[in-house]
């Protein structure tokens, strides 16, 4: 579709958002990213039944960990969209980029 989305977004491919582990997200922040969004399938349409619902809970948990660490839990979000919604993916990428831009750079200075 050759849709444009912000070039600062780096995609980490996983077979299902159920594969998302708390440590994956934390490591991303440790490596200096400013935000993470998890793009899962629409709720109720997980091929593995509950993968995206589990991811949602984990994202929620990580928000708490980030808040506790003074990083701001708003830097991580979960979105639900189907593989056919390329337009929505681009829109979400822009929305999240904008949100993180408003939050400013991550206070973590590791690897910078």
């Amino acid at each position: 579709m050759r849709l444009n989305y912000p070039s600062n977004v780096k995609i980490v491919k996983i077979p299902c958002t159920g594969r998302v582990d708390i440590m994956m997200i934390l490591r991303a922040f440790e490596s200096g990213v400013d935000g993470v969004f998890v793009a899962g399938c629409l709720e109720g349409e997980c091929h593995f039944l509950k993968g995206n619902l589990r991811a949602k809970k984990r994202v929620q948990y990580v928000k708490g960990l980030l808040d506790e660490s003074g990083i701001d839990g708003a830097r991580v979000e979960m979105y639900n969209l189907s593989a056919a919604q390329g337009q929505r993916f681009a829109a979400v990428a822009r929305e999240m980029t904008e949100k993180v831009r408003l939050l400013g750079p991550s206070p973590v200075k590791i690897g910078r």
Binding site: I22, M23, L26, R27, F29, E30, L65, L66, E68, S69, G70, I71, P107, V108, K109, I110
Partner: protein
């Protein structure tokens, strides 16, 4: 198992504030099962600590290490070769583990990263609940297999009190009345006659009240 709860990050950060090199020590036993201080929780806490300290420009070096058990010398001995490289040990084991590591590594300050709470069971994934208080003198045979000491908020041996309402305890509508559970069970077992027996005053000498406890089996000693 012994159930514990991770301490709030703020409290842990305060304990390790002056230190830059820490050994974060997990335990593969109970605290792993109750997801408070196993290898995974070690990873998460280490990450949180690094993020938090990096944010303040006060970076920290953390060695993550998880022992098979922190309540046995033979496993604690495994950290001897490298514990000296760190300024402080942050233990994620139960209170027993924290103390035993401290006893073993006398030159090191050993601090706790979890609050040890109770002896309990896994009710479902992610939910644990108390069952035993280790009083040293089990009476489960008299109470339908449900412990009034651990499960009644007042540890009444002849309950329930007047605050039992709809099967719940007066202290919290989410908490089951231990005595309601006992009575239900005695009824199921056809042992309601047991309810009419007065359980006599308890001898607490076998509990914590009798002082620190120790158990020995001569035949096993080397």
């Amino acid at each position: 198992m012994i159930v514990a709860n991770r301490k709030p990050l703020e409290e842990i950060l305060e304990m390790i504030r002056p230190y830059k090199k820490i050994l974060l020590l997990g335990c593969n036993e109970c605290v792993t099962v109750c997801a408070a201080g196993g290898q995974r929780e070690v990873g998460v806490l280490a990450s949180e600590l690094r993020l938090s300290r990096a944010k303040d420009g006060n970076e920290i070096e953390i060695r993550e290490h998880t022992l098979e058990r922190q309540c046995d010398h033979e496993y604690i001995d495994q950290i001897r070769p490298f514990v000296g490289d760190y300024e402080i040990v942050l233990s994620m084991a139960c209170g027993a583990g924290v103390q035993y590591v401290a006893e073993t590594c006398r030159s090191k300050l050993v601090v706790p990263a979890v609050d040890t709470t109770f002896l309990g069971v896994t009710m479902e994934q992610g939910v644990w609940s108390e069952r035993c208080q280790g009083c040293g003198n089990c009476i489960l045979d008299k109470t339908g297999g449900i412990c009034p000491i651990a499960r009644c908020a007042k540890s009444l041996l002849n309950g329930p009190c007047g605050g039992s309402s709809g099967g719940k305890c007066e202290i919290d509508k989410e908490v089951d009345c231990g005595w309601q559970l006992i009575i239900d069970r005695l009824q199921e077992l056809g042992q309601m006659d047991r309810y009419e027996e007065i359980i006599p005053v308890k001898d607490w000498t076998t509990a914590r009240d009798g002082g620190p406890r120790k158990r020995m089996r001569e035949d096993l000693r080397l």
